[in-house]
């Protein structure tokens, strides 16, 4: 999140060390062994670590959902009674859940598809923002950054709406295993989107104060990397949680 870079003046035995020294202040690429800036490498490593985080969360969701459905099918009264509220609010949906022994009737797939589409589109605007700043087109880069943040916020709003509907139907975090796992997984993703929006807003503020110029286009690229990653994770979550029976 922070713009941490170390630029070290080094004296080397190389004959062209003097020339290098001045260039190193502009960008770090000359100093690094892999030809990739430290920040970018660090971001890739961090995202690699995040893969394991979401991998473990998705596995937990799949396991918890299966266990929940197994208990429902077995008629475990402790578990079935957590669906009483749903029966009260929407008896049809309740009957469908019991009959098909699946959680899919609870989801509003068309709605979530729409909000997923919105989140995917935000990756496009993110790319355009990076392209604009690379071409020193600061006005457009701000427009696209704002658009990305707005699309991300729309997705989040959709998630809040979805959670509210579920809550009214009696799907509680502390109710049953499905509730715990669903809110934890999608909530974690939501927190990641929120973090991304905060980064985008920080970029917007920097840019409007004239502190985000072409030479720092990489900062936008890094936020972009994170943003695309969060999008890709959502594609996985959407497919695994909402689509695959």
């Amino acid at each position: 999140m922070s713009d941490e870079t170390v630029q070290l003046q080094t004296q080397t035995d190389e004959p062209d060390a003097e020339e290098h020294e001045h260039e190193e202040h502009g960008s770090e690429e000359h100093a690094s062994s892999l030809g990739l800036s430290n920040m970018k490498l660090a971001m890739w490593l961090f995202l690699g670590s995040e893969c394991l985080l979401f991998g473990a969360l998705i596995s937990t969701y799949l396991l918890s959902k299966e266990n929940f459905l197994r208990e429902v099918q077995a008629g475990n009264p402790e578990v079935v009674s957590t669906l009483d509220k749903l029966n009260e609010v929407d008896p049809e949906k309740y009957a469908e859940v019991i009959e098909t022994n699946s959680v899919f009737p609870i989801f509003d797939i068309p709605f979530t598809s729409a909000s997923s589409f919105i989140l995917l589109m935000s990756s496009l605007t993110m790319v355009l923002a990076h392209k604009a700043i690379s071409e020193a087109d600061y006005k457009n880069s701000r427009i696209w950054l704002a658009a990305t943040a707005l699309l991300g916020s729309t997705f989040l709003a959709g998630q809040v709406y979805e959670f509210t509907v579920f809550f009214r139907e009696g799907i509680y975090f502390d109710g049953n295993l499905f509730g715990s796992a669903f809110y934890t997984l999608t909530g974690f993703h939501g927190v990641h989107v929120s973090g991304g929006i905060l980064m985008l807003l920080a970029l917007l503020i920097l840019s409007s104060r004239g502190k985000l110029k072409q030479d720092r286009a990489e900062t936008v690229e890094l936020v972009g990397l994170y943003w695309h990653f969060v999008d890709i994770v959502w594609v996985l979550i959407f497919t695994i949680v909402y689509l695959i029976p």
Binding site: S2, Q9, T12, S33, N38, L53, N67, S180, T184
Partner: protein, 641 residues
């Protein structure tokens, strides 16, 4: 350059007007705000030794409890409950607050020096990694006074750790403080991998990196991928305990085995990331003190990488008795047998390095040989776990306790001891006393084998681990008493390194602080090409690396007859330690502040959620303070003489 300086100056006006970047701070403030990898490494080491003393006291209490049979609960020194808390804290402290941070201590201090860099890639993040580890570690230890230490064992199995069975705050302390420690490990891993991959001196290709660097790289990759899995497990537990979720609640169909899988997917890479830094250390000491290059360098490197990959495929061998089914058991048995191969390669290579060498048996070398020997014993008992039928008998007995102490104490800690004796002159400017060192080593070897050797027998006799009492009739008394006597010798032996440090320092001061020289061991790697103790700026000039063991090749040339001839002494070709014109990363308050924000958040999650609000406020302020402070300041730099 002047533009840059002006830009930085104008950005400085962004700061909140307090906790602005300290200018060349002195004393305590210097340590609190430092971003120097060497000081951070020393602080990691000192904290680990402090926690080692606490964990060691817990260990001695365990041995005291088991020193005699007890027929009734009144006979025992501690109640079963207190005993559970003691062994849980012993295990947790030793794993998370001693062995892991000791690895971090060596990695921090040595990685930039061995690859020829000025500092790590992100010096402020480096400071943050340390402070957040210290905050988490101290928080865990306050549990003794604030409602009881955790009692779930170091792997904290569900559902025993649920609120139903464990209503007091001990488990919350375990969970939350290790989450905090985990943040430090993760940021440290990102930082150190970036450093190794990206900040090598010109000419230092991957296959010219010292084995220590390779092992550190594998270690940090293991951390990078293992920590998030533990984090998820801990978050699930946190949700269960604090927000009434149902992940491990069997009434709702929750699966306690989920905890075991997540924990051991983290936990098995964890055991490798605890031992690999020690492997790296002795891969530096053994060649130096055998006066030979390391035998089979590429095999050393690739066997380390192989361990890193295979370490992910063996986790369920911790769970053979949990009913995971015959197919899983067979698959994980085979994988466990295979993982012994790269470790065997390493042991063979160390022995082959010593073979025919002119071995110098100083303390560092003794500890290295101690590692090779004792790790082999631990490795052999480890392979015996791969046979699931035998493992079913050994699970949760003292045989397991013997095994992992042979690899983690006899292996990892002996390796770190070798590292202390080897690099002490580079870090502090004087050698540790060889005389006390020999005592240190022999007391540790004798005490260690007396303590943990008999546990193999006790385990095979059927003594369960974690039992708080045994009766005379069970026949465990004799070997337990041997082990308890041994543990006392071991304790005195281990602590004598601190005695040695104090004593040697006194003698050095009394002698008028003689210069130990840049290269006291006539060593091979480039950290010995600079003065001792390491100058604040590390290298005057970034070295250009022409081969593996570069420094050695600068001292020796190949003769026409095929041998080697010395052309220079280390002291002649070492850099003079002139830091003029070198710019260093500037100190900062924000890593410490950001870590301190974990204090209210941590205690808030344990006791009352309201406390997390000021914590979150402090967190946000610190993040902004950090982000708005320029990463570097050209006017401040400790290297400006």
């Amino acid at each position: 350059m002047s533009n840059e300086a002006m830009a930085l100056e104008s950005e400085q006006s962004f700061s909140f007007g307090f906790l602005t970047r300290p200018k060349n701070p002195k004393g305590l403030l210097n340590w609190l705000t430092t971003v120097d990898h060497k000081k951070i490494g020393i602080m990691y080491g000192a904290s680990s030794l402090f926690f080692l003393i606490i964990g060691g006291i817990a260990a001695l209490l365990i041995r005291l409890q088991l020193a005699a049979p007890s027929e009734t609960p009144e006979d025992s020194l501690f109640s079963g409950d207190t005993y559970s808390r003691i062994f849980t804290m012993h295990g947790t402290i030793m794993v998370f607050l001693v062995v892991m941070p000791l690895g971090a201590a060596f990695a921090n201090y040595l990685i930039p020096l061995l690859i020829g860099a000025r500092d790590v890639a992100f010096p402020r993040i480096n400071a943050f990694s340390f402070w957040v580890f210290l905050v988490g570690g101290l928080m865990l230890n306050t549990s003794w006074f604030l409602g009881g230490a955790p009692n779930g064992g170091w792997f904290n199995y569900a559902p025993n750790t649920g609120v139903t069975f464990n209503p007091d705050v001990g488990i919350d302390f375990w969970n939350v403080s290790l989450l905090i420690v985990g943040i430090g490990s993760l940021t440290g891993a990102v930082n150190l991998i970036t450093t190794i991959l990206n900040m090598r001196a010109p000419g230092m290709s991957l296959l010219r990196m010292p084995v220590f660097i390779w092992m550190s790289l594998v270690t940090q990759f293991l951390l990078l991928f293992a920590i998030p899995v533990l984090t998820v497990a801990q978050i699930l537990l946190l949700m269960d305990r604090t927000f009434d979720a149902n992940f491990f609640n069997e009434i709702q169909g929750g699966d306690p085995l989920l905890w075991q899988h997540l924990f051991w997917i983290f936990g098995h890479p964890e055991v490798y990331l605890m031992i690999l830094p020690a492997f790296g250390i002795i891969s530096e000491t053994i060649p130096t003190f055998s006066r030979k290059p390391i035998f089979g360098y590429p095999f050393m490197v690739f066997s380390g990488i192989a361990i890193g990959f295979m370490g992910w495929g063996v986790w369920a061998h911790h769970m053979f008795v949990s009913g995971i089914g015959p197919l899983s058991v067979s698959a994980f048995s085979v994988a466990t047998m295979f993982i012994a191969v790269p470790t065997g390669v390493k042991i063979l290579n160390w022995i082959a390095t010593m073979w025919g060498g002119k071995i110098i048996l100083n303390t560092a070398m003794l500890f290295s040989i101690g590692l090779v020997t004792q790790f082999t014993v631990g490795g052999l008992s480890g392979v015996s776990h791969a046979f699931a039928s035998a493992d079913t008998q050994q699970t949760d007995t003292y045989y397991i306790v013997a095994h992992f102490h042979y690899v983690l104490f006899g292996g990892a800690l002996f390796g770190f001891m070798a590292g202390f004796y080897y690099w002490w002159p580079k870090i502090f400017g004087y050698k540790l006393s060889e005389k006390i060192g020999k005592w240190n080593f022999w007391m540790m070897v004798i005490g260690f084998n007396m303590t943990f050797g008999p546990m193999h027998i006790l385990g095979l006799q059927g003594m369960p681990r974690r039992m708080d009492a045994y009766s005379e009739a069970q026949g465990f008394t004799f070997w337990n008493q041997i082990a308890s006597v041994g543990s006392l010798i071991l304790g005195i032996g281990t602590i004598s390194i601190l005695f040695n440090a104090v004593k040697s320092h006194k003698r050095w001061v009394a002698q008028g602080r003689p210069d130990v020289g840049p290269d006291p061991w006539d060593a091979r790697t480039i950290e010995w090409s600079i003065q001792s103790p390491t100058p604040e700026h590390n290298f005057d000039k970034t070295p250009v690396i022409k081969s593996l063991d570069d420094f050695w090749h600068r001292k020796f040339v190949r003769t026409s007859s095929g041998g080697y001839e010395r052309i220079a002494q280390g002291v002649d070709i070492a850099q003079p330690g002139n830091g003029e014109g070198v710019h260093l990363p500037a100190p900062s308050f924000w890593p410490l502040m950001l870590s301190l924000s974990m204090v209210p958040i941590g205690y808030g999650l344990v006791f009352t959620l309201w406390l997390t609000i000021p914590g979150a406020f402090l967190l946000i302020v610190s993040l902004f303070g950090w982000a708005l402070e320029p990463a570097d300041d050209l006017d401040i730099g400790a290297g400006h003489e």
